[in-house]
Amino acid sequence: MRDTRRTSKAPLTTLTGKDMRKAALVILIVLVLFDLVVKHHEVFGIDGTFGFVAWFGALACFCLILLALAVGSLLRAPESTYDD
Amino acid sequence: MNAVTAQLPALQVVIPLLGAIIAAFLRRGTLAWAWAALITALTPVIAFAQLHQVWTNDTISYRMGGWPPPIGIEYRVDLLNAFVLLLVSLVSTIMMPYARRSVAHEIDGDKQAWFYCMYLLGLAGLLGITITGDAFNAFVFLEISSLSTYVMIAMGRDRRALVASYQYLIIGTIGATLYVIGVGLLYLVTGSLNFADIGTRLAEASAAYPRPVLAGLAFLFVGISLKLALFPLHVWLPNAYAYAPSFATAFLAATATKVAIYLLLRIVFSVYGVAIDLNTLPVSTVLYPLSIAAMFIASILAVYETNLKRMLAYSSVAQIGYITLGIALMNQAGLTGSVVHLFNHALIKGALFLALGAIVYRAGTIKLDDLGGIGRTMPLTFAAFVFAGMSLMGVPGTAGFISKYYLIVGALDAGLWPIAFLIVASSLIALVYIGRAVEVAYFRPIASAPANAKDPPLMMLVPILVLTFASIYFGIDTELSAGVASRVAETLLGGLK
């Protein structure tokens, strides 16, 4: 998990990138494991399943990035496009 | 005092008429200006007194020389022409302080007194057309105002002013001729020249001689349409407005076409309308397509025009289209819109043309391409232009909106919603041409001509600002404009057969 938001308050130099990545991984796993404890209010069936929001969040973000890349490859233009 | 009050209708015309003659003898420009300003300032006082009288009491009927109508000439003031009289005289008065510098700048010293003489003659002619109840007398005043207008246009600095004046002279003469033929036909079938009297006799005459009565209407209609620059009879107007001296342009734009429209209203509603069912006459049939064509074609021409005066002139043709559209609708709201736009457009175009005159005075050009950044060097003048321009487009809260509002309501009342849509759509074109001027004035780098320009002297600036303020103010307080216009429309429609 990208954790710059929280770690940045501490001086960046005391933690190595490797430490940070390890800590983030632990947090991600713990967050998913919480699904075993917390009861979700199901509405559509799928939303109560184990780890649904986790994989959906990752997938949604992945799809949006793909869409952005597709749009970018089609419509990116130099900044001078509209200069007269 | 009562003796004076009784003579007000005559004084309304006689004062500027005699003033014109005296102005011709005052050889110095400034003196002539002061005289003309004084004379002009008297006219709205009289007009206001008359409007007050008509509003509270009833129609004023004045017998010229004591001869009773229909033998003698009758001056007849009802709400409609009292309103137009006040409009013409008041706008002229507001403009007069502006005239001195502008006229001195654009016309040679020895000719200035003649200019003021012609101006007063023109004013007398316009007031005369409006106040008289006699068809032939109206023709005489039409000629007086036209002839003086030709001279005023020809006094423009540009050599093309001569051609423009000549062209207008020919067209104007054709128009006057057609008008007098129409009057002649009516006289033949009714034996009267008095508008009201013709009206009462026309029903009978129409039964006996339907064709001449219709032909008379055709001649009157086309003749007056030439004077009011109804599309496609407008071709004289852009050149005349563009090359006339700035003050003359503003004066003519604010008053001359309005008086012609008044005459059309008078003929259609007070002469023909009281005798014959208007639905059987082709007035609306002819006016609808021409009005809509004017609203669009003239507006588009304005978009492509690079000379600002010509741009506004085409815009005037388009705005006249709105006024005639209201006449064509022939219902309460439409006619109110027509009359109120007559009033509002006079204020708006007066302000716009005066602002252009100030630009000519300071920057020496009105070519759009040479005026880059003028909005920053002449801030107050161009701010006035923008506000009056917004009123022209019909931005809500401005006078122009009130006009369009009544016209749209009129169109919807008549069940013609496509016309309501066309009114809105054509207003968008006004946004384009005013927007183009705004773009050049504010968003372009300052060009060489406006670089040393600044706002004009106070004497010129105040009339511009007063008219601009009025063209906004009458969008908020609609008592004088829409209130009177609505009663006028009521009276005109109430008299219809």
């Binding site: 997938l59 | 009879l233 809105v424 927007g435």
Partner: protein, 562 residues
């Protein structure tokens, strides 16, 4: 009645705007800060119920102070204050004065109880906001012009709609409408132009980045949010709005993910956030509308905060492209901290204002059993990491070390403004009840359940994981992304040129055609036509005579036939 009009918050701000023009120095600053505060006080002292007046025979309601109006009024006045504080040492009097007029317009719209009053304020907003864009300097002139054109178009649509609606129903009051007649469609279209809906959404990213470092704060607050407000009042539950809103939300994310300029990125973010609100209006249940109201209130503050951060960066470094920025956290610690709070709020992280507001809209979709909408809103919520939620703060303040930029935190007034906004984002998030009691509908809503918090944390952290893994693909690249404004900026220009030539050509041909016909008729009809040389050459006179004859003939013909 007159007193209550004069003491309305909008009138107060207009007075303030006027006073700004004539003052300098300390008085100028006191007026700039004092009048928004006065407006805020007046919002809470607004006369309950309605104030009515009469114009052109229509009953107007210039002031209608109900719960929804009070909420938006308070938020707008607060935002005006924050913006004014942030802009305290901005030297352009025109911009500051316009900003107060703009805020007055927004407050006027909020309290307007009828369409006519609303429209007047609506146009005041359009004019004032155009002036603010203009104050961005020479490079802002063209975007400002395009901005003005789009907004006048929107205004005309709205005006036509209002006129038609009044003509058809005779009712001027702003009430909930079903779009079942053309005037109502026009009103909806006019509102959507301001909301940043397709096809005119490009005005946001075109004009806003062109404004000054202070101007964009005001711009980001009022226009789009007033549109959301009026949509809530007039078109709740119109299903089409859901889809329009979702398209806006996705568009904003995709374009922001590609964007290099921080201020244009935020403009896309504004559209994206507006999309969520528009979709919420489309759902239209009391919970959804409460969500839209709360989300608007929260978004005003956090968007303003992010725009202030971007403005500070722009002002302090003179750069706005992310490809030129990076690792600014050390140089501008307070700005970086403010940016993080703003990012957390926009990402709806628990304990921020975004969390307590956006979840209402998402939950409303679930409660209405709209699975597609719910999934889409969830995906859009995950997508914030692609822009202001993570990408922007990371690339500007952290990330790969860049050549050190000599800059510090901005001046005190700007720092205080950012700090206040950041505190508000947190306070609303921690104690949401203060916001909830102001919402228009009576709905009990508990944001802090274990499930809610967990869902949001999982969603954001895994979205962030994906972004982290794919970060190299979304590196800031110089350039722009073509948008729908290409249609009127490129071919529009070609078309205009072509049309110009075309019409000029057609006109010449038409004129010469008429000319020859007229000359022919002239020769034919008029035997005594004078010296041929002069007369023949002044063709328009001939044309005129031709038309005169034609019209006379036509008139007689119609009369004879009729």
């Amino acid at each position: 009645m007159t007193t209550s009009l004069l003491t309305s918050p909008a009138s107060a701000l207009l007075v303030g705007a006027l006073a700004l023009l004539f003052t300098r120095g300390i008085a100028h600053k006191i007026i700039l800060l004092g009048f928004p505060v006065l407006a805020l006080i007046l919002v809470f002292h607004a006369p309950t119920g309605s104030v009515t007046a009469n114009y052109l025979g229509y009953a107007l309601t210039p002031i209608r102070a109900d719960a929804l109006a009070l909420l938006f009024g308070a938020v707008f006045a607060l935002a005006a204050f924050l913006g004014a504080l942030f802009a305290l040492d901005r030297s352009s009097t025109l911009e500051l004065s316009s900003a107060l007029v703009y805020a007055a317009g927004a407050l006027g719209v909020v309290f307007a109880g009828d369409w006519i009053t609303l429209f007047v304020w609506w146009e005041i907003m359009a004019i004032a906001s155009t002036l603010i864009v203009v104050c961005g300097g020479e490079k802002a002139y063209r975007p400002a012009f395009r901005y003005a054109l789009v907004h006048f178009l929107g205004g005309v649509l709205l005006m036509a709609g209002i006129a038609g609606e009044i003509a058809m129903s005779g009712n001027t009051t702003i009430t909930s409408l079903k779009p079942d007649s053309w005037p109502r469609w026009l009103i909806l279209a006019g509102l959507l132009v301001n909301a940043g809906a397709p096809p005119f959404w490009a005005w946001v990213s075109d004009a806003y980045p062109a404004s000054s470092w202070s101007g964009m704060v005001f711009l980001s607050v009022f226009t789009t949010k007033t549109a959301a407000y009026v949509l809530m009042r007039a078109f709740p539950g119109v299903e089409g709005l859901i889809w329009i809103g979702l398209v806006m939300a996705v568009y904003g994310i995709v374009y922001a993910a590609l964007e290099n300029d921080i201020r244009r990125l935020l403009a896309f973010v504004i559209v994206s956030q507006m999309g969520i609100k528009v979709a919420g209006v489309g759902i239209g249940t009391p919970l959804a509308l409460n969500g839209v109201a709360a989300h608007s209130a929260a978004a005003v503050i956090y968007t303003a905060l992010l725009v202030m951060v971007a403005g500070s960066v722009m002002r302090q470094t003179g750069k706005t492209r992310m490809s030129d920025l990076g690792s600014l956290a050390a140089a501008m610690p307070l700005t970086a901290f403010a940016c993080m709070i703003g990012a957390l709020a926009i990402a709806a992280f628990p304990l921020t204002s975004g969390f307590v507001s956006k979840s209402m809209i998402v939950d409303a979709a679930a409660k209405q059993h709209l699975p597609g909408v719910w999934i889409a809103l969830l995906a859009v919520s995950a997508g914030v990491v692609l822009h202001a939620g993570l990408r922007l703060p990371w690339l500007v303040f952290f990330g790969a070390p860049k050549p050190r930029i000599a800059a510090g935190d901005p001046p005190q007034s700007m720092r205080i403004a950012m700090a206040l906004a950041a505190v508000l984002c947190m306070v609303i998030g921690i104690v949401p009840d203060g916001l909830y009691v102001m919402l228009p509908h009576q709905v009990t809503y508990v944001p802090y359940t274990a499930s809610h918090v967990l869902v949001q944390l999982q969603l954001l952290s895994f979205a962030a994981l994906t972004f982290y893994l794919m970060r190299d693909l979304l590196k800031p690249q110089p350039g722009i992304t073509l948008d729908l404004d290409w249609l009127y900026r490129r071919p529009g220009a070609w078309l205009a040129c072509g049309f110009d030539d075309l019409t000029a050509g057609a006109w010449t041909r038409l004129v010469s055609g008429i000319n020859s016909k007229a000359a022919w008729l002239h020769d034919l009809l008029v035997t005594h036509h004078g010296p041929t040389g002069t007369f023949g050459r002044t063709w328009p006179t001939g044309t005129m005579a031709f038309w005169t004859t034609f019209l006379l003939g036509a008139f007689l013909l119609i009369a004879a036939l009729g």
